[in-house]
């Protein structure tokens, strides 16, 4: 259960990025948490909401994008969605693959209301 730690890091960075913006004008924080990142999106959401409850950020929404685990095979030059996080190419079985997405853990956008500026 490291999702509380993840949620805390998101909140810390988001507050730092918006230090000179009124909290009331912050609408949402957007993050990418890959489906094979080992992090449970629902738990991060729960922890984030618990952390902002009763603060000047309590109206801020956390939007979590879950990029699928995708692998590109250099042998047969196909790109596949490997749901189980397996690195081998599901088409030809090659181990000569590159993971394209699904491991992300990043803050990507912060949306502000019209009145922010």
């Amino acid at each position: 259960m490291h999702e509380a730690s993840i949620a805390q890091h998101i909140l810390t960075i988001a507050r730092e990025l918006t230090a000179d913006i009124r909290p009331a004008s912050i609408e949402s924080v957007h993050v990418k948490i890959g489906e094979s990142s080992g992090v449970l999106a629902d738990s991060v959401q729960f922890c984030f909401d618990a952390m902002i409850a009763g603060t000047d950020w309590q109206h801020v929404r956390l939007r979590i994008d879950r990029p699928p685990f995708r692998v590109h095979c250099r042998a047969c030059r196909t790109t596949s969605h490997n749901e189980l996080g397996i690195a081998l190419c599901p088409q030809c079985g090659s181990a000569d693959t590159e993971i394209l997405s699904g491991q992300e853990m990043a803050i990507t956008e912060i949306h502000l209301k019209e009145s922010a500026t």
Binding site: H2, I6, G38, L84, I86, A87, L112
Partner: protein
């Protein structure tokens, strides 16, 4: 509505401190292992078996991570090596700042090998770089051969796989070749060892590998 576009890693603070730890290790020429596994796979037993073989010729220190108690540090202290116990009081993994703080209690200058034993957990420690050179995941034959498929990130982010408790193979349903293949399906680059910390079978290959990594 306006949008602030950023690209900030959620764990950037941890990664920054891990990078500092790594620089410190490089400066001292200390090779660092981060040992991860479920509870009871044999991380501490592996450290004991390793210390027994190398402590006379490779100056080694150990950092122990546990949710509670210093029982592991007590076990390791019997080998007369510097050992620091980190008690996380509930946290399910070590983070880079905890290791940085523990390092304040170790004189790294003479240390060629630092072994960090992470908290027993096959999920959470996989997200946190500690500054180690090599992450070693231990799986024991009593856990079953499906574990790499169930906990892929730990196997993807590790460099070495140790299959422990091979002495128990006659008594369990685990198939070592299936376990190894499952791990290699997640991470084809894993270096693998099969051993028993109880009978010491297979320990020699592991020790030779460590020897090859130590800066003299």
């Amino acid at each position: 509505m306006s949008v602030i576009t950023v690209e900030r890693k959620i764990l950037e603070k941890n990664d920054e401190i891990a990078a500092h730890n790594r620089q410190l290790f490089d400066r001292h020429g200390t090779f660092v292992l981060n040992i991860v596994s479920s509870p009871g796979s044999g991380k501490t037993s592996l450290i004991e078996a390793t210390l027994e073989s190398i402590r006379d010729r490779i100056p080694t220190a150990v950092i122990e991570g546990d949710v509670q108690t210093d029982l592991d540090a007590q076990r390791v202290a019997k080998y007369n090596v510097p050992v620091v116990q980190i008690v996380t009081h509930g946290a399910c993994h070590l983070e880079a700042p905890l290791v940085r703080d523990a390092l304040a209690q170790i004189d790294l200058a003479p240390i060629r090998l630092l072994i960090i034993e992470n908290v027993g957990n096959l999920v959470c420690p996989s997200s946190y770089d500690l500054g180690e050179a090599v992450r070693v995941v231990v799986v024991s034959t009593t856990e079953g051969d499906d574990k790499p498929l169930k906990y892929p990130k730990m196997f993807r982010t590790s460099h070495v796989l140790i299959i422990n408790k091979i002495d128990l193979l006659p008594h369990v349903t685990c198939r070592v070749d299936v376990l190894r293949d499952n791990a290699l399906r997640i991470n084809p680059n894993l270096t693998t060892f099969e051993l028993s910390c109880t009978t010491r079978e297979g320990i020699g290959e592991w020790i030779s590998w460590i020897d090859s990594k130590i800066r003299r």
